[in-house]
């Protein structure tokens, strides 16, 4: 046996998975509320003792521990670029792919109002981009000057026009800012290169943010670096899709992760044009992509989802799932959706126990998943020209994606998780949205994907085999 603990300090719960890497089995899992405001190890120890109680684990046998964290707001970043669709978009992708939450983003010259917004946003890192290599120098230079004269104390990562990177760094350093510099996220318009920036974001997270978030004690316990949770999930998705030298992956995939505050979508698939003649527009897409919808979550953001779909549609979908809602002899006659949604947003730790509550969660989650996947997936539109019809595609074509995976609390505890995955599929009523048409569907009932991502860095092949073993295939037709 070689036992490893995989810990996630989530915003609400601290979760632990115990895996036996040599036998490739999950020994157990446990969780307890995260205690980041006092001492993060309190929650950790509670989860640990639950783990010991439930699966009879002897902690002395543990050979190693790895951890991720999204506690204390996760990794919050500001992205600054030049043209919103170009360097700013590349900067945002760099942040998202590093597992960050982009709390504010700005194109063109920033002014003093924007600087105050950035100061107020209390970011962990600012990513400063602008201009392709040899392109515009003026705007990034101006923006660096504005940041230099601000009260901002967090590290600033410069990844813009190479020609002025040194000057930009000097400007910032002269005013006492902590500056990191790497290559341009958009060296030329046909090349998005976010990996160097992402590697540095990870280093900065480990060097500064762990301490700033009060995770020092957690890092001491783990005995190694803590990475952002979404980064761990993205690593799991990449490993699962692409495989290793000794163990094949499962092919292209889309991961839907519905949470209380946000909905994360990860895809590992090529941009692939809809037809060979299709014209592709916009920045090139990388195979591994993450988007996060900060307005879609089934607790904190339940009211936003509810507003999107509307009271009538919400009730109609709920009736469809739960016909007893209208039963005159039942207890649910007094159900007021407005009140229920309000309650959820104020009691973010709420775990439903009634049929009605469980079904209401499903309605919220399927709506969140549907909107989030629509925002993640590419689009196609028809243009008519003198030579006939042309298809113009923006973003990723996910029509032929081979696997669709659901993860997050709702897939573990909720009713009918397959309903949520169905909403991520191609919808004939919206043929322009390139969502998966006929994927194999898998559910992460163990809520283990983050752990697979943590393990992937050290034991890729066993991690992949464990993931394959514990993902449950499901039939959306039933």
């Amino acid at each position: 046996m070689s036992i490893y603990l995989l810990v996630d300090f989530g915003s609400t719960y601290t979760k632990i998975l115990a895996v036996d890497v040599s036998n490739e089995v999950i020994l157990g899992r446990a969780q307890a509320p995260t205690t980041i405001d006092t001492d993060v190890t309190i929650g950790l120890n509670r989860a640990l003792s639950e783990l010991v109680d439930t699966c009879g684990l002897d902690l002395r046998q543990v050979e190693g521990k790895y951890a991720s964290s999204s506690a204390a707001g996760g990794l919050k970043m500001a992205a600054i670029g030049l043209v919103p669709e170009l360097t700013l978009e590349a900067a945002r992708r760099a942040c998202l792919g590093a597992g960050a939450k982009v709390v504010c983003s700005y194109g063109f010259e920033i002014d003093s109002d924007i600087v105050r917004e950035i100061e107020a946003a209390r970011c962990d890192i600012i990513l400063l981009c602008g201009g392709t290599d040899g392109g515009d120098k003026r705007v990034i230079t101006h923006n660096a000057r504005m940041l230099a004269h601000s009260e901002i104390a967090c590290p600033i990562l410069v990844a813009g026009n190479r020609v002025v990177s040194d000057a930009v760094r000097d400007t910032l350093e002269r005013h006492g800012k902590k500056v990191y510099r790497t290559s341009n996220v958009l060296p030329s318009l046909d090349m998005v290169e976010v990996e160097p920036a992402q590697a540095l974001i990870r280093e900065i997270f480990i060097a500064h943010i762990t301490h700033a978030k009060g995770l020092d004690k957690a890092a001491d316990f783990i005995g190694g670096p803590i990475i952002p949770t979404p980064k761990a999930t993205l690593q799991a998705a990449t490993l699962l899709a692409q495989g290793t030298v000794e163990e094949p992956g499962i092919g292209s995939l889309l991961v839907v992760e519905v949470g209380g505050a946000t909905t994360n979508i990860h895809s590992v698939a090529d941009q692939s044009p809809v037809t060979p003649q299709t014209v592709i527009r916009g920045l090139p897409e990388s195979p591994v992509k993450r988007t996060v919808e900060g307005d879609l979550g089934i607790r904190y953001n339940a009211p936003t989802i509810y507003d999107f779909i509307g009271r009538d549609a919400f009730l109609a979908r709920l009736r469809d799932l739960y016909p007893a809602l209208d039963d005159p002899s039942g207890d649910d006659q007094r159900f007021d959706p407005d009140e229920h949604i309000e309650y959820l947003s104020k009691n973010v730790g709420h775990v439903p126990t009634t049929e009605l509550g469980l079904n209401a969660d499903i309605v919220l989650a399927e709506s969140a998943a549907s909107i989030a996947v629509e925002r993640h997936a590419g689009t196609v539109r028809q243009e008519f020209s003198v030579v006939g019809e042309i298809l113009v595609q923006h973003g990723k074509n996910l029509l032929e994606v081979e696997n669709l995976i659901g993860t997050g609390g709702i897939f573990r505890y909720g009713l009918r998780p397959e309903r949520i995955l169905s909403s991520a599929l191609f919808n004939p009523e919206k043929p322009w949205s390139l969502k998966p048409r006929n994927p194999k569907t898998l559910i992460d009932r163990m809520y283990m994907l983050y752990g697979i991502g943590l393990l992937a860095e050290h034991f890729p092949a066993p991690a992949l085999r464990i993931a394959k073993k514990y993902l449950t295939e499901t039939d959306l037709g039933s």
């Binding site: 043209v83 669709e85 392109g135 030329s188 318009l189 046909d190 527009r281 243009e383």
Partner: protein, 144 residues
């Protein structure tokens, strides 16, 4: 108008609903060989994308290709948008089958006049070579 510093960089693409790509490719190759930085946007490019690219790469010129006869309609307003976006000294060229073939043959001076009226610095008929386009831009930029 104050002449900009020369950055030896151009944006090339086929405008509007036009899916022709070859003309743009040929130009891309010719300008790269002439040591220009080229942002090649491909076909079916909206005006805004030409402008976005020009801002980001700090372009000296936007070279618009149009091969399906509707160039005038597609190009109208590009100069105004450039001005609005702060690209007030950018050079605009258009070339290809920029109007109906019969018009090109019979009424070239009129076609040229109308493109110049909407703000293009030069208009090239479909008989122009890539080398001629490169030379024209070098002349306009005042480099060799």
């Amino acid at each position: 108008m104050k002449r900009r510093h020369v950055n030896r960089s151009v944006v090339i693409g086929t405008i509007g609903a036009d899916a022709h790509m070859i003309g743009g490719w040929v130009l891309e190759k010719a300008f790269k060989e002439a040591r220009f930085t080229v942002a090649f946007l491909g076909a079916v490019v909206p005006q805004q994308e030409f402008i976005n690219a020009a801002i980001e790469i700090d372009a000296d010129a936007i070279l618009v290709s149009s091969m399906y006869g509707m160039g005038l309609l597609d190009c109208e307003g590009l100069r105004d948008k450039c001005t609005e976006a702060g690209l007030d000294d950018i050079i605009l060229y258009v070339g290809g089958t920029v109007a109906a073939p019969l018009e090109l043959e019979k009424n070239w001076p009129e076609v040229e006049r109308r493109f110049k009226e909407i703000g293009f610095d030069r208009v090239f008929p479909n008989t122009c070579t890539a080398a001629e386009a490169v030379q024209a831009l070098k002349t306009d930029l005042g480099i060799d």
